[in-house]
Symmetry: C2
Subunit: 385 residues, 2 copies
């Protein structure tokens, strides 16, 4: 295709993306069959199958393709489409061909409005979505920010939805680490939504990407966030839910991600927190794996073996590895005063000759000490449950 | 058996329980084969197989049976044994015959020193153990106390280990609800351990039970707590771990409970808390089921159908149940100003005739209102992710 031909296709797709509300299953299938150029021409004329007409009839007279491309350019954006070499085809493959599975059904987008400096062809190679409640708690904000930071630090891309709460904290964490982060919106890429995140969206675009399948100027709406969620899930190889209430878009994204065969992790929280109920439900029903630390997330999402968790957490007690009788002999001793082997035998229930054999062994390993008043525990033991 | 014969068996068992350190696999097997009376006599004489000698040799000259029974009686206690009608045989059945599976291996006790007023034959019919870290956080204490209260309130017995932290909070919660609670100790039933819980132990004994397989006067020791844990697991039909560190006795009890085929639940907490790491590990590895609320615990442990969780948590949105197009039409409307069906069609992407059909339907269901300036959303909608 000549460069001009490509731009004609882009205009056609820009027109089609405004004509029908995503996910437009029939229109998408139609484009796949007749091609974007012919599809645009026939939609304009109203010369389409009934199902496509149902999706496109209301807006087919609205052709703002050039205006939309200009509006995107005005904010440093562009329309990316399957005909472009950097189109994230591999990631979107999981969405499959459009089939009418209802509002939350899968389906690849006709194109993606993108804004930002990151290489679209690379940014999704190692991407993890970090999502959660808008009404996050301080705990959720902290954890999301730390996860975002750790992923960014590990060279992974943090994908989220730019909402208040968890989404914003995840983006910020990634930015703080100098990592790449991508915001997928349920409105136009030129709409600073939510308003309080206009600065954050600028920062995301400055080093990462702001993405949407909605034309510039499109206002946010609840059903658009639900449709958008499939893109967050598809563009990441794993999804981490940090906090989620009983009803939440994050759970919708997690369910979609699981349906797409992605790794789904959920961060637990206090059961006294309403903002962790959604995560706990995902964990209890087995829809998500528990993410108990940032290290566990890296281990779950990173290339095999790259982020193997260190086992340092499981610090060993000095008496670990002692066999039953040795442990009992050790326990029968006191630290404050020495005692004779005979006393140890009675107190521990270990035969006296075994006690006499074990005590010097335990002295060699540093577990017990011999003094003038007999045997006693060496420093460093531990007592309790 | 005559009453006198029974008391002779009791003396024999009291002697044997001091002779060998539990779990005394060989001695236990020996008692099963020759009976408690003959076993005691032969142990005293040293006329036993080598394995039994290994377990009993060091203390076989120590016969404090009468003193132990007197010491127990002094604190209102007694020695319960398999020959007694109220012996909790059914619950202890899961421990099976003694097999040498190491320190944490199963094995029924030769007897149980009990102190308190509860009916041993009934108190374990509906028992749940609530266990966890000694170094509990405020969160853990709160949750353990609430679980203890809820179980006590539901007529279930709360079993725990009387340790500081979670154990103590669980006992206290049960007591507060006027419920029955049982403390299983890793020392004698006359030892106020931990010292700060002597009042709590009195309160537990006053309405419930304090239990131990260790003779009166036995000091606490680490290996005894590990051995004790199998009794906590066996005497309960479910085990709830509230908080647990990386290394903890509570995890040991949970693992034992799972091995015994009991329901194991773990309460999640903040991943920033070291005291929840053990619970999260149990959940991640599938060793425990997530307990997200007191209601979920009651549902999991109660008789089938008795504590079905109410689904009230999952409050419905007013727009739930709206089909895709209806939802889009609803979203395209504003609350502040009315608009015409034509505008709605363009904004929602729904064909105009469908919009014209849907708006009156949505008016009937109370989702939209018709005013002088056109259609608008009714009060009560919600917007966002």
């Amino acid at each position: 295709m000549t460069a001009q031909a490509v731009e004609e296709v882009r205009l056609a797709r820009a027109y089609l993306m405004r004509v029908a509300e995503p996910p437009a299953f029939a229109l998408h299938a139609f484009v796949n069959v007749v091609g974007a150029l012919a599809a645009a021409e026939r939609v304009r004329r109203g010369d389409v199958p009934q199902l496509v007409a149902n999706e496109s009839e209301a807006r087919r007279h609205v052709d703002l393709a050039e205006e939309d491309l200009a509006a995107a350019e005005k904010v440093g954006g562009r329309l990316l489409m399957p005909e472009d070499p950097e189109w994230p085809a591999w990631q979107l493959l999981c969405l499959g061909p459009p089939t009418d599975r209802g509002l939350r059904g899968a389906g690849t987008p006709l194109g993606l409005w993108v804004r930002g400096t990151a290489e679209v062809g690379e940014v999704f190679d190692r991407a993890v979505s970090v999502i959660g409640a808008r009404a996050a708690t301080g705990y959720g904000d902290l954890v999301a920010s730390e996860i975002g930071y750790a992923l960014g630090n590990a060279g992974m891309t943090v994908v989220s939805g730019a909402a208040y709460g968890i989404d914003g904290a995840a983006h910020r964490g990634a930015l703080k680490a100098g990592g790449q982060t991508v915001a997928v919106l349920g409105c136009g890429i030129d709409i600073p939504y939510p308003a309080g995140h206009s600065g954050l969206l600028e920062a995301v675009a400055a080093s990462g990407l702001v993405i949407s399948e909605y034309p510039p100027g499109t206002n946010p709406a609840r059903h658009r966030f639900l449709v958008r969620n499939r893109l967050i899930a598809a563009l990441s190889s794993a999804t981490v839910v940090v906090e989620a209430g009983v009803r939440s878009g994050a759970r919708n994204t997690a369910t979609t991600a699981a349906a797409l065969g992605k790794v789904v992790l959920a961060v637990p929280g206090p059961i006294t927190s309403a903002m962790s109920v959604g995560c706990h439900d995902l964990l209890r029903t087995g829809a998500a794996t528990l993410a108990g630390s940032v290290g566990e997330i890296l281990e779950a999402v990173g290339p095999v073996g790259e982020h193997l968790r260190t086992e340092g957490r499981s610090a060993r007690r000095s008496t670990d590895g002692l066999a039953d009788q040795a442990l009992r002999v050790h326990e029968a001793l006191r630290r404050e005063e020495g005692c004779a082997a005979e006393e140890v035998a009675v107190d521990s229930g270990v035969p006296l000759d075994r006690v006499r054999a074990l005590l010097p062994e335990l002295e060699l390993t540093g577990h017990v000490e011999r003094g003038e008043d007999g045997w006693r525990q060496a420093k460093g033991g531990e007592h309790g449950r």
